[in-house]
C-alpha cells in the first residue's frame, strides 16, 4: 500500500523545502553549504596561500591590486533531512487517524527533499528512536521510503528527549522535521533544545486529530489513556469542554512561543488536512 498516491505526489512535486540556513553534508546536493568549494556560485575572495589551487587565482584582481587572490565558491552540498515521525500509541487515534496523517506528511517531506537532492533519514521514535533509516539520496529511492513508512506501526509511550539522546548523531548541520501530537508527558522542550544543540534547522509539526481539537464527548464517562491505560472519571459538560479547549490553546501557544524563541518552524496541523496543505503549512 502506498502512503501517497500519484495525485498527492503530483501536487507536492513543485514544492520544495525552503530553509533559512545552509546545512552540512557529504554528498553534493542542491543546498548552499558553508564550506566554500568548487561550485559555480561565487562566494568570496581571499589572498592566495601556498597550496591553493592556482587555477582559482583571479587574475583580474591581480592586475588591479597586484596581489594574488583566490576566488572562493559556495560549495553546494546535500542537506540531510531527518524526519522524526512520532510512532507512540497516542498517535494511533482520531479520525482521520493521526499516525496515518503523520506518515503521509513524512512521506511528502521525504519526497520533496529527495527532489531537491537532499538526503533523507527516517527516524521513527517513541520511547527511543526505533531505527535510523537512510540515507535516501535519489528520487528513485522514494519508493523505499514509502515502503518503510507503510511498514511502521504505532506502539509504546513517547519520550522525545530520551529518544534523541539514544540516537547516534553525525556531525554537521541538517534539517530535522519532528511530526508529533505534542501530547508527551515529559514535554517536547528538552528534545527540541537538543536538536538545536545538534545544529539542526527544526520543523515542528504539531499534528492533532479533530477529536482532540474539539472532543465529541458528553455525559458521565471514563477516559482511558491510550498509552498508559490510566483512567479518569469525568462528567463532560460544556463548561468542561470549554476549559479543555482553552487548555489546549494555551498548551499550543506556549509551545509556539518557545519555538519562536529558538528559531524553530512551528506548524499546527490537523489530521483531516490534505497532505499538500499540510506540507505547505510546514514550509511556509
Amino acid at each position: 500500500m502506498k502512503i501517497l498516491d500519484n495525485d498527492d505526489l503530483r501536487k507536492i512535486h513543485a514544492l520544495s523545502l525552503q530553509i533559512r540556513m545552509p546545512v552540512s553534508g557529504q554528498a553534493s546536493g542542491n543546498r548552499k553549504s558553508k564550506s566554500k568549494g568548487s561550485s559555480v556560485e561565487f562566494s568570496d575572495f581571499r589572498e592566495y596561500a601556498p597550496g591553493d589551487d592556482f587555477r582559482r587565482i583571479d587574475w583580474n584582481a591581480y592586475g588591479r591590486f597586484n596581489k594574488l587572490f583566490v576566488k572562493l565558491y559556495m560549495e553546494e552540498r546535500e542537506a540531510p533531512v531527518q524526519v522524526f515521525p512520532d510512532m507512540s500509541m497516542s498517535m494511533d487515534y482520531g479520525s482521520p487517524n493521526k499516525f496515518a496523517a503523520a506518515l503521509r506528511l513524512a512521506a511528502a517531506i521525504s519526497y520533496v527533499s529527495l527532489l531537491s537532492y537532499d538526503s533523507v533519514y527516517i527516524n521513527p521514535w517513541n520511547e527511543k528512536v526505533q531505527g535510523i533509516y537512510g540515507p535516501f539520496r535519489t528520487q528513485s529511492s522514494y519508493m523505499k521510503v514509502d515502503n518503510l513508512l507503510s511498514g511502521l506501526m504505532a506502539s509504546g509511550k513517547s519520550n522525545f528527549s530520551d529518544a534523541l539522546r539514544s540516537m547516534e548523531w553525525k556531525a554537521g548541520r541538517g534539517i530535522s522535521v519532528v511530526i508529533t501530537d505534542g501530547l508527551l508527558r515529559d514535554g517536547l522542550e528538552e528534545g527540541l533544545k537538543y536538536l538545536k544543540y545538534k545544529n539542526q534547522d527544526v520543523f515542528l509539526c504539531m499534528l492533532l486529530s479533530p477529536e482532540e481539537l474539539s472532543p465529541p464527548l458528553n455525559g458521565a464517562i471514563e477516559l482511558v489513556d491510550s498509552e498508559t491505560g490510566e483512567t479518569v472519571e469525568v462528567t463532560v459538560s460544556n463548561a468542561l469542554l470549554k476549559k479543555y479547549e482553552e487548555s489546549l490553546k494555551q498548551h499550543m501557544a506556549k509551545l509556539q512561543e518557545q519555538c519562536r524563541k529558538w528559531g524553530i518552524h512551528f506548524a499546527m496541523l490537523s489530521s483531516d488536512m490534505p497532505v499538500d496543505l499540510m506540507l505547505k503549512s510546514v514550509i511556509t
Partner: protein
C-alpha cells in the same frame, strides 16, 4: 416533638438503599483518548477552583440522604410541640341522646360531634389520658383513662344514636365520680345542651344550630262502645310557631289527617274520634319535616278485650265474687269444691281448699288453705294488723293496712317466696309449680277486715292482672330503652319478640322469659308465644319517653355558667412541619439538579 404516623419511619429504609445505589453506581462508559495529559490538567484546574472539593465527590449522596430523611420526617407527621403539656388528662363526654340525631348539622349532630371528638383526641399531646363517656338514657364509661388514641378514636366511632333523652342525674353522677378520681382532669362535653356537672369547669362544644323540632310526646286511646277515641300530644320544641300536618294510621292504613298550629315551646292535644275498633295498632305521625324525624311518630296497641276467664271454687264468698265481677272483661264462673276437673280457665281461685292436682292451663290463687300435699299447713295463729308489701298485687296500695283475726300456720315450701309474714310465719306466699304460678293467702277473708277496705277491689284487680296471664303479658307501657319483662302463658314452650325493624329475638326458653332489652327502636313489637298447639301473638308498643322538658330544664339553656367555655380549642398545639419539610426536600432536589447540570467532575 411528636410524630403523628410513626409508620412513616419505614421510609428510612431508603437511606441504606441510596448508599447501596451509590456503591453499585452505574458503570461509566469507557472512552479511549490519545492522552490524558490535557484532561488531567483541566480537571486539576477545576478542582483547584472548588473549595469543598473533598466533599464534592459525595455531595450528591449527602443531598439525597438528607432529602430522603426530610421526606420520611414529613411522612411520619413530624411536629413540634409549642407547649410541653404532655400527659393531659381529659374526660370526653359525648351526648348520643335522641336530640343528637337532629339533622340541622349534616349529617347529624352526633356525627359532627364524633368527628370533632376524634380530632380533639388526635390533637391531644401524646401520653394524654382519655376517659370516654357516652351520655343518653344511660351514662356509660366506654374507655377509662386510656393513652391509646387509636383505641379512643375507635370507641368514639362506635357510638350509636340512642332513642332516649339524657338522664342528667346519671350523667352528672358518673362524670363527677370520674372527675373525683382524678381532680386534674378536664371535662370536655360534645353535646347540643350545655349540661352542668356540679360546679366543674366544662369545655363545651355546641351542636345546636336550630331547634325547630315538633314531636309526638303522648298517644293513648279509650274504647267507647264500638269506637275508639285516641288522644295525641304534639309538642313544638322550637322557638317559633309551627304549622304542621298530623296523620293517624290504623294498622298502617291512613285513617285521618289534621292541620295543627302550635305556638313556640308549647304542646297541643289532638283528638281522634270514631276510629273503628277492629284495628290492632295505631300510629300518629307528624308529616311536616323537621330537624329530628325520629320523634315524629308515636305508636299505640289496642289490646284485645277478650274476657279473662276466672274460676272461683268456694262454698260461698260474697266478697270475692263481688270484687271479681266488678272487673271489666272478667268472665267469672263459680263452682263448689266438689268439682274435680279444672280446665279452660285463665285463673283458678280456691277459697278454703287446695286441689289434689293443680290445673295445668292457668295460674292459681288460694285463700285459707287446709292441709294438703302441695305445702305444709298447720293450725291457726292470731295475727295483729299487717301492711302492704312491694309485690305487684299491692300496686297502688302502698298505704293499705288491714287486720287479720287468725291465719294458718304455714311452712314455706322450696318453690315459694314469702310476700308477707308475721313472726316468721308466712301470711302470703307465691311460687311456681311446674309452669303454674301459685299465690297463697294464709287467712280466710272472713277473718279479716280486708274486704271492708276500699282498696279490696283494687287488690283483687291486681291479682287478676298479675295472674291471668293473657291480660298480663305486657303490663307496663314501654319506652325506648326500657326493659320488658314478659309473663308468658303456662303452656308456652318458646317465645320470640318481633322488632319493628323485622328481627326475631328469642326470649324463651328459659322460662320464665329473659328480660327483653332490645327496645331502642320506637314502634310496634310483637311477642310470639309458641305452645304445643300453635302460636299466640301479642302486640305491644314502644314509644319515645317524654323527657324533653326535663332534659331542657337540666341543661341550663338560659344563662350558661361563666365557667363554661363554649368552644373547644381544637387548634393543634403541635405545629406540623410537614409542609416546610417537603418544601425543603424539593429545594434540595432543585439544588441537586442545578448542581448536576453545572458540575464538571464527579
Amino acid at each position: 416533638m411528636s410524630f403523628a404516623t410513626p409508620y412513616g419511619f419505614i421510609g428510612l429504609l431508603a437511606v441504606p438503599l441510596i448508599i447501596l445505589l451509590y456503591i453499585l453506581k452505574q458503570k461509566r462508559e469507557k472512552v479511549t483518548v490519545s492522552s490524558l495529559i490535557l484532561w488531567s490538567k483541566v480537571i486539576s484546574d477545576m478542582q483547584a477552583s472548588t473549595p469543598w472539593q473533598k466533599l464534592q465527590k459525595n455531595l450528591l449522596l449527602f443531598l439525597q440522604i438528607i432529602t430522603a430523611i426530610l421526606i420520611v420526617l414529613a411522612l411520619a407527621g413530624f411536629s413540634l410541640q409549642l407547649r410541653s403539656d404532655a400527659g393531659r388528662s381529659v374526660i370526653v363526654v359525648i351526648d348520643h341522646s335522641l336530640s343528637m340525631s337532629s339533622t340541622d348539622i349534616k349529617p347529624s349532630r352526633l356525627s359532627a360531634a364524633k368527628k370533632d371528638a376524634v380530632k380533639f383526641v388526635d390533637d391531644l399531646p401524646t401520653n394524654s389520658h382519655v376517659t370516654l363517656v357516652s351520655i343518653g338514657k344511660e351514662a356509660n364509661v366506654l374507655i377509662y383513662s386510656s393513652t391509646s388514641k387509636d383505641e379512643v378514636k375507635k370507641s368514639i366511632e362506635s357510638i350509636q344514636k340512642s332513642s332516649g333523652y339524657v338522664d342528667v342525674a346519671k350523667a352528672e353522677e358518673l362524670v363527677l365520680s370520674l372527675k373525683n378520681q382524678e381532680p386534674d382532669t378536664q371535662i370536655v362535653l360534645f353535646s347540643d345542651t350545655p349540661y352542668r356537672f356540679g360546679n366543674e369547669q366544662v369545655q363545651f362544644s355546641d351542636y345546636k344550630k336550630q331547634s325547630n323540632n315538633v314531636a309526638v310526646t303522648g298517644f293513648t286511646h279509650t274504647i267507647t262502645g264500638d269506637n275508639i277515641t285516641a288522644m295525641s300530644v304534639i309538642r313544638n320544641q322550637g322557638s317559633s310557631e309551627a304549622e304542621i300536618a298530623v296523620s293517624l294510621y290504623g294498622d298502617e292504613n291512613f285513617l285521618d289527617s289534621k292541620w295543627v298550629t302550635i305556638p313556640a315551646n308549647q304542646a297541643k292535644t289532638v283528638w281522634w274520634d270514631k276510629i273503628p275498633n277492629n284495628i290492632k295498632t295505631m300510629r300518629v305521625s307528624i308529616e311536616t319535616e323537621d330537624i329530628l324525624p325520629d320523634d315524629n311518630s308515636a305508636y299505640d296497641v289496642i289490646l284485645s278485650e277478650e274476657a279473662v276467664k276466672v274460676l272461683l271454687v268456694t262454698d260461698g264468698n260474697i266478697f270475692l265474687e263481688k270484687a271479681l265481677t266488678l272487673i271489666e272483661g272478667v268472665e267469672l264462673v263459680r263452682t263448689s269444691p266438689g268439682e274435680q276437673i279444672y280446665k279452660g280457665y285463665d285463673l283458678y281461685i280456691f277459697d278454703g281448699l287446695v286441689p289434689d292436682k293443680l290445673p295445668e292451663d292457668g295460674n292459681v290463687a288460694v285463700f285459707s288453705p287446709p292441709p294438703n300435699n302441695l305445702f305444709p299447713v298447720g293450725g291457726w295463729m292470731d295475727t295483729p294488723e299487717v301492711g302492704s308489701s312491694a309485690h305487684a298485687i299491692f300496686k297502688y296500695l302502698d298505704k293499705l293496712t288491714f287486720s287479720i283475726g287468725k291465719t294458718r300456720i304455714l311452712e314455706k315450701p322450696e318453690w315459694a317466696e314469702i310476700l308477707m309474714e308475721y313472726n316468721g310465719n308466712p301470711i302470703i306466699m307465691e311460687g311456681i309449680v311446674g309452669n303454674i304460678r301459685v299465690l297463697i293467702f294464709g287467712f280466710d277473708l272472713f277473718d279479716t277486715d280486708l274486704p271492708l277496705r276500699t282498696e279490696f277491689p283494687i287488690l283483687i284487680s291486681n291479682i287478676v292482672n298479675e295472674y291471668a296471664p293473657q291480660r298480663g303479658t305486657v303490663i307496663q307501657r314501654l319506652y325506648t330503652g326500657d326493659v320488658a319483662q314478659f309473663k308468658l302463658n303456662p303452656d308456652t314452650l318458646k317465645a320470640y319478640v318481633h322488632t319493628p325493624d323485622g328481627r326475631r329475638v328469642s326470649v324463651a326458653p328459659p322460662i320464665p322469659a329473659e328480660p327483653f332489652i332490645d327496645t331502642d327502636e320506637p314502634g310496634i313489637y310483637s311477642l310470639e308465644q309458641v305452645n304445643a298447639e300453635g302460636s299466640l301473638n301479642t302486640l305491644f308498643d314502644v314509644n319515645i319517653p317524654d323527657e324533653w322538658l326535663m332534659e331542657q330544664s337540666s341543661g341550663g339553656s338560659t344563662g350558661i355558667d361563666a365557667e363554661y367555655k363554649t368552644s373547644i380549642p381544637f387548634k393543634n398545639q403541635a405545629v406540623s412541619l410537614m409542609l416546610p419539610l417537603l418544601a425543603l426536600a424539593v429545594a434540595i432536589l432543585l439544588f441537586e439538579w442545578w448542581y448536576y447540570a453545572n458540575r464538571n467532575y464527579a
